[in-house]
């Protein structure tokens, strides 16, 4: 069922703009959803999708543009107002109060109970007790309850944000058919998902965002995937060239790090790969495919529920990051705020691992520390004009400090989680050669990035993780973005390079 052009769209967001300081998250985003229409909202990481969703649902105010719901300009000021105006979102994370019963949760939002029960049964959950505490119910059930609650409130527009992620297959099918039914009954649906299979199963059109702009509205038909991938990629900023002659040569028999069948809740399932000294192994994954869990396990923050890790051929278990560091596995996390002591100096931040173990609680080895820190600062070209407090440094320099910490300590296996997120192009261009250089000197680097064009610049091979599984291993130095993007969306296998 396609948009009936004669009637007015249920949701019409036009020319929406939003900036955070100097960052223009949205420059011209538009989205139209007609009566009975299901529109897929798509975009690569950083395209502005989450900002757009927050504006549609009222969590953020747009700087410019309008969101019109059922012909009325929605001056959406809060999620509650967005709900009242007829747009009801369902997110990946359940939004039910855990310490209340199902019934009490329904009362909180004035949801009609009978309609709710109808939908719950349609969605395939049987024998649900309204007196059950939310905290006692399994996650998959909660997602269904969220959806049922949204449907029961008879929304004009339903916004589903990655709501099928980690649902069992049979439930996904039920969800899709119920959503389709709701649309056929006249509801408009915005459907956000990384899964092309689901999108082609139920969506009518796809709206593609890139760099904060709506760059295309496509009809869903066979073969549309390639067109969508193309639109999502677009022209990119020049991030520089990979240095020639810096391919990985070292391939010892024993991998530095060997991951065998690691499973970790909630998203990582049975992942295996080897990482050799002298190699940069890319991790290609869309947001939330299990890469967060993978890095947490490898850095010693989480214990895997299944599988084993070997370092230099010896099995290891980590119960604290200190254990991982002792085996040479050091993490640069995705969020700099997690890694830095904002009010302390550059030197203290870089030198922090030196004091970590009880043996080093005594006098600081000032001279040793000073020279190591100075060396790291020089190698990374950290701008030290504001070194008294790292929070006064630019984002790029802050990121260099988190990397510098491990350079000063000595790098064996470096786990980089999206190290270039939110930093300037100049710094990015400094980071790729650095990563290559570290590998050349014998380090093993695991490099997750949300920007696919970085993979051929920095990596030798790349493992592709989709929906918690390794779906492909790609020769990264030759991979183009299209291949990577298709692989990241789980679309097709390329020739394995492993």
């Amino acid at each position: 069922m396609l948009t009936d052009n004669t009637s007015q769209p249920l949701l019409d967001a036009a020319n929406v703009t939003k900036s955070f300081g100097a960052v223009h998250a949205l420059t011209n985003a538009s989205l139209r959803v007609g009566v009975g229409e299901i529109v897929a909202l798509m975009g690569a990481n950083g395209a502005g999708k989450s900002t757009f969703v927050k504006i549609l649902t009222g969590a953020l105010h747009p700087d410019g543009g309008e969101v019109i719901i059922k012909g009325k300009a929605a001056h959406v000021g809060s999620p509650a107002e967005a709900r009242a105006s007829g747009l009801v979102p369902v997110y990946q994370e359940p939004s039910l109060v855990p310490d209340l019963s199902v019934f009490d949760n329904l009362r909180l939002t004035d949801t009609p109970v009978e309609a709710f029960i109808d939908f719950v049964e349609k969605l395939g959950i049987e024998n649900l007790s309204l007196n059950a505490m939310i905290s006692a119910l399994p996650l998959a059930t909660l997602r269904i309850l969220d959806l049922a609650r949204a449907l029961a409130s008879k929304p004009d527009v339903l916004l589903l944000d990655e709501m099928t992620a980690a649902l069992p297959t049979d439930l996904v099918e039920r969800v899709l058919s119920v959503v389709r039914e709701a649309a056929d009954a006249g509801c408009g649906v915005v459907y956000i998902s990384h899964r092309f299979a689901e999108i082609s199963a139920i969506c009518d059109t796809a709206t593609v965002l890139r760099d904060g702009k709506t760059v295309g509205e496509l009809k869903i038909e066979p073969g549309v995937e390639d067109r969508v991938v193309e639109l999502m990629l677009g022209a990119k900023i020049d991030l520089g060239q990979r240095e020639v002659g810096k391919e990985s040569r070292i391939r010892t028999v024993t991998p530095r790090l060997s991951v065998n069948g690691i499973t970790a809740a909630p998203k990582l399932k049975d992942v295996s790969f080897d990482l050799y000294p002298g190699e940069v192994l890319g991790v290609v994954a869309l947001e939330g495919q299990g890469q967060d869990e993978l890095f947490e396990v490898l850095a010693g923050f989480e214990k895997p529920s299944d599988g084993s890790i070997e370092v230099d051929g010896e099995p290891v278990t980590f119960s604290h990051p200190a254990d991982a560091i002792a085996k040479g596995l050091t993490l640069v996390p995705g969020d700099r705020a997690d890694a830095l002591m904002a009010e302390r100096s550059v030197r203290e931040n870089i030198a922090l691992p030196f004091s970590a173990s009880i043996r080093n609680w005594g006098p600081l080895r000032q001279r040793h520390e000073k020279s190591r820190v100075a060396h790291a600062i020089e190698r990374l070209q950290i701008d030290t004009r504001a070194q008294g407090e790292v929070q006064r440094l630019s984002g790029g320099n802050q990121q260099k400090v988190t990397i510098g910490r491990w350079l000063a300590k000595g790098v064996e296996t470096l786990l980089l989680f999206d190290p270039t997120r939110g930093i300037d192009v100049r710094t990015k261009r400094q980071i790729y050669p650095l990563v290559r250089e570290l590998a050349e000197q014998g380090a093993a680097v695991l490099f997750y990035t949300s920007e696919l064009e970085e993979v051929p610049l920095a990596c030798d091979r790349a493992v592709v993780i989709f929906n918690g599984h390794v779906v492909d291993v790609i020769d990264a130095s030759k991979a183009d973005e299209q291949t990577l993007m298709r692989a990241a969306y789980g679309l097709s296998k390329t020739e394995s390079a492993a």
Binding site: H320, I325, L331, P333, D338, M341, R344, L352, P363, Q366
Partner: protein
């Protein structure tokens, strides 16, 4: 830091004051002393009262003498607050240590009694450390709880030793009440003590970790710091310091009781806060806390001079603490 020259800029000034809270605090201390002299001419500058001497060494000595145990307990607060914790058992631990030492001395000898007193403090601290570091009970609750338990144990203990009488070690009396060149002998203990604390905070790996845990525990953990180890060591150290302060206080007051040092607890927190230590962790200065303790003593003298009723004294005391910290927080936020 080279920011002294840029003081005119309010942002720079705020930052400078945050990095060096001691400077304005000393200014405040002298201002308060000047007010005191104004209220009672000749008290601090005897010449004005027709006596000899530019500055009354006796008065200054007294000020320092009573500020020392307060500053020692404030060290417990500064160190624990660096990690966003607090030690509310410090007052009780000091009392326990003093009482145990005074009652055991006639039975087993002075040295052993003092050792056991310090050991008791260390034990309470160890329990605090395990509770807050391993079990992850909030330090506020943990130390409040152990403080109450220690008070209860002390009352039971008292029934067993009620007939033995007490003895106050001569050495402690000398430290607590004696003077050398007009200055209190307590400085013989306090100066080395303060130097050790300042050294720990600035020049030791352990001190670094205290700041690290309070600044960003996740960053510390990521860097391989096992925070429970740091917290266990920290609270044990805090217990030992409180016990040491209790021994000194025993020599000063010379009358052990079941609540000897308890009234020093909240002033010790106040001294740390006035001295620029943030209860949210990551920022603190022991030098500031020492000046804070002196300021509190001056304010106390002032209120005594005014012959205020107890209620009004406490009230004004609270207001002053809130005002000083309020101003302080304001300066920091600007920075």
């Amino acid at each position: 830091m080279s920011m002294v020259s840029e003081e005119r800029n309010p942002v720079q000034l705020g930052r400078y004051l945050r990095d060096n809270p001691v400077v304005p605090l000393i200014a405040l201390l002298f201002f308060l002393i000047a007010v005191l002299e104004f209220m009672k001419p000749g008290m601090i500058i005897p010449l004005r009262g027709g006596r000899d001497g530019l500055v009354s060494i006796f008065w200054v000595g007294n000020l320092i003498k009573f500020a020392i145990p307060l500053a020692m307990l404030a060290a417990c607060q500064v160190l624990t607050m660096l990690t966003a914790g607090i030690d509310l058992s410090a007052g009780v631990v000091a009392t326990v240590s003093a009482f145990v030492c005074a009652t055991l001395s006639p039975l087993i000898g002075i040295q052993l009694a003092m050792l056991i007193a310090l050991g008791a403090g260390g034990m309470v601290g160890l329990v605090n450390g395990v509770g807050s570091g391993v079990v992850r009970v909030h330090p506020l609750i943990m130390t409040l709880g152990t403080g109450l338990i220690a008070t209860g144990c002390l009352q039971v203990y008292q029934r067993f030793v009620i007939s033995t009488g007490t003895e106050i070690p001569q050495m402690l009396v000398w430290l607590g009440t004696g003077r050398t060149l007009g200055l209190p002998n307590g400085l013989f203990l306090f100066v080395p003590f303060a130097l050790v604390i300042l050294w720990i905070m600035r020049f030791s790996g352990f001190g670094r970790l205290l700041f690290a845990l309070g600044s960003n525990e996740n960053a510390a953990s990521l860097s391989g710091v096992r925070s429970w180890q740091v917290l266990v060591a920290l609270y044990t150290l805090s217990g030992l310091i409180a016990a040491l302060a209790g021994l000194l206080y025993l020599g000063m007051i010379r009358a052990p009781s079941l609540s000897l040092a308890n009234p020093l607890l909240l002033p010790s927190v106040a001294a740390a806060v006035i001295g620029g230590t943030s209860i949210f962790g990551g920022r603190g200065s022991f030098a500031g806390a020492i000046v804070g303790a002196l300021i509190l003593r001056v304010i106390d003298t002032m209120l005594t001079l005014l012959q205020m009723p107890q209620g009004a004294r406490i009230l004004i005391f609270g207001l002053i603490i809130l005002t000083v910290t309020g101003i302080y927080e304001r300066i920091i936020r600007q920075g």
